[in-house]
């Protein structure tokens, strides 16, 4: 008898869900691609190589991203800047920059490793290709234009949402340098890739000093 009661209980759950769905509420799926769901702010999508506001490339060709990559999908070769017409403000710049998107696991460790915030991730996740060569993204595709827009692999595609490339993930600020992740809604969340326009976070020293004075810090 207990089993029968359990059976009826279960049938009530599924039947109730069906009535609710027919009434048009509680749907958990959307009609992709007609209808896109809002992606979380820290969504790990395609990478982009950023520039400074003056047009200089941020990448200094240090290869730390390639070293941090657990999937071994990043290939970087640095080159000395031409002193007359430098590509990046530093000594060197990323001459070759390739990411094999078939190997990439979108963990974001490259973003974390980058000392100049040159590589960040966007919200673009639709980049299937019809051959393996196209899946290796070169600097040509990854690097943003001088005006801050990001090139799309298939801009004419029906599904292409160029806005996704302008949305950086929140990883950049949320994990650096204090490690506090409570920045949602403040200026520190930067909507677009590119130069940061937020005030620097307090350093560890400063935080220690302040908490020593009895102030509480989130």
């Amino acid at each position: 008898m207990g089993l029968i009661a359990e059976l009826i209980k279960g049938l009530r759950v599924t039947g109730g869900t069906m009535l609710r769905t027919i009434a048009g509420s509680g749907l958990v799926t959307t009609e992709y691609p007609k209808e896109m769901r809002v992606k979380p702010q820290r969504f790990h999508g395609r990478h982009v190589l950023n520039r400074y506001p003056d047009g200089m490339e941020k990448c200094i060709g240090c290869e730390l991203c390639a070293g941090a990559c657990p999937a071994d999908c990043i290939y970087v070769r640095g080159m000395d800047n031409d002193p007359e017409a430098p590509t990046s403000p530093g000594e060197r710049f990323g001459y070759v920059y390739e990411i094999n998107m078939l190997r990439c696991i979108f963990c974001g460790l490259c973003v974390e490793a980058c000392p100049t915030e040159a590589i960040t991730m966007t919200h673009l996740f639709e980049f299937s290709t019809t051959n393996r060569e196209d899946a290796v993204y070169t600097k040509e595709t990854l690097l943003m234009e001088r005006d801050g827009t990001v090139p799309h692999m298939f801009p004419d595609d029906e599904l292409a949402d160029l806005g996704e490339l302008d949305t950086a993930d929140g990883w950049l600020r949320a994990t650096a340098p204090s490690g506090v992740a409570a920045y949602e809604g403040t200026l520190m969340w930067q909507g677009t890739p590119g130069p940061a326009d937020w005030a620097p976070e307090p350093t560890q020293e400063e935080r220690d000093r302040r908490s020593g004075e009895g102030e509480t810090d989130g």
């Binding site: 039947g15 869900t17 609710r20 769905t21 799926t29």
Partner: protein, 367 residues
């Protein structure tokens, strides 16, 4: 056989076959849609209005796919198995009366594939034959997972067919008391369920006037046993161990293209015909109010078919509902439910109804 009679037989078979194909197309779509609703999803929506043509699209896709033949198969049996699945599935439904006999130009057109006087036995025979397709497909594939599926099918079919047959026997015994002698013809079983229980038991007429004379009410236990058994017989959740996708993929692992589509088709045809048989045996088949005189003639001629489909689809819906609700049984649980619960219950019910029937017919043995 005169020409008109011949063409009427052809028409009967073609109509039944067409109806079955049509409802099967709808069934696959309906199952996907209902499951989606029960899981808060949207379900098929693109092909046709409400995605109703989804099955056609899927069928066309399967039709044009390559039917791969693995190297290790036992070729003859491997090729035969899909047909062994489809043919009994269609033959079972041929027995089911799906509407009131029509009279066209002096000729009577029974809406039923064929009215065999051994209809129920034929159904039992065909549903047993259908198991062969599963076993042979599993064995001839030359691969271990299909073989496991085939072995499971053997045990499952034997256990649940017994319960199903015993539940049918109770109904046949009861039907024999409701008219002139016993019968195994489904058309006759439906005829004996016409009217209401008020006509049979005049003492309780005011109450029973609105209770249709279905076998369901006196044979409710048999109905429950029969329903559980047909869920197992058609290899549906929670008894779908034969094709448990998550564990062994199923007896049709090595089938692709149209050959796979035939197993798929047979499964859904079986669901519908088994529910149709349950509706015929217990829910009065096509019996129902026809409003003769107050509505146009063709409406009252078609209404019985509507009642039949409504009853059948109610049961089909319960199939889907159960599938969306219950997890799959473990193998020992399956055997336990079959041998320790269903068969004793069916036997017990058989004894009880036999005792009641003989008491009503011959009086108490001590008098």
């Amino acid at each position: 056989m005169s020409g008109a009679e011949f063409w009427i037989v052809v028409l009967r078979v073609v109509l039944t076959f067409g109806l079955l194909l049509l409802v099967t197309l709808l069934n696959v779509w309906a199952e996907r849609k209902i499951l989606a609703d029960m899981q808060s999803r949207i379900g098929p929506k693109r092909a046709g209005p409400f995605g109703i043509l989804q099955t056609v699209a899927d069928g066309l896709k399967l039709f044009f796919k390559e039917a791969v033949t693995p190297r290790k198969v036992e070729l003859g049996m491997y090729l035969l198995a899909p047909f062994l699945a489809v043919v009994p599935a269609f033959l079972i439904f041929m027995m089911v009366p799906w509407g009131k006999p029509l009279t066209i130009g002096g000729n009577e057109l029974a809406l039923q594939g064929a009215d065999l006087n051994i209809g129920l036995l034929f159904i039992l025979a065909m549903s047993s034959l259908a198991v062969y397709s599963v076993v042979l497909a599993g064995w001839s594939s030359g691969s271990k997972y299909p073989l496991l599926g085939g072995v499971r099918a053997t045990a499952q079919a034997i256990s649940y067919e017994a319960a199903m047959g015993l539940a049918m026997v109770a109904v046949v015994m009861f039907t024999a008391t409701q008219g002139d002698g016993g019968t195994l013809s489904l058309a006759e079983i439906v005829n004996r369920q016409a009217g209401t229980w008020g006509d049979v038991i005049p003492a309780l007429e005011p109450i029973l006037r609105f209770v249709p004379r279905w076998n369901l009410f006196p044979q409710i236990v048999a109905f429950v046993i029969f329903f559980v058994a047909i869920v197992a017989e058609t290899n549906r959740a929670p008894f779908d161990l034969v094709e448990a996708e998550q564990e062994i993929v199923g007896f049709h692992t090595e089938y692709s293209g149209m050959r796979f589509a035939m197993f798929f088709l047979a499964e859904y045809v079986n669901i519908f015909s088994m529910c149709a048989i349950a509706a015929t045996l217990f829910l009065g088949g096509w019996n129902g109010p026809t409003f003769d005189g107050s509505v146009p003639g063709f409406v009252s001629a078609l209404l019985p078919t509507v009642w039949f489909l409504a009853k059948t689809y109610f049961l089909v819906f319960i199939f889907f509902w159960i599938r969306a609700t219950l997890p799959r049984l473990r193998y020992d649980q399956l055997m336990q439910v079959g041998w320790k619960r269903l068969i004793p219950a069916a036997l017990g019910w058989l004894v009880v109804s036999a005792a009641v029937i003989s008491f009503r017919q011959f009086g108490s043995p001590w008098s």
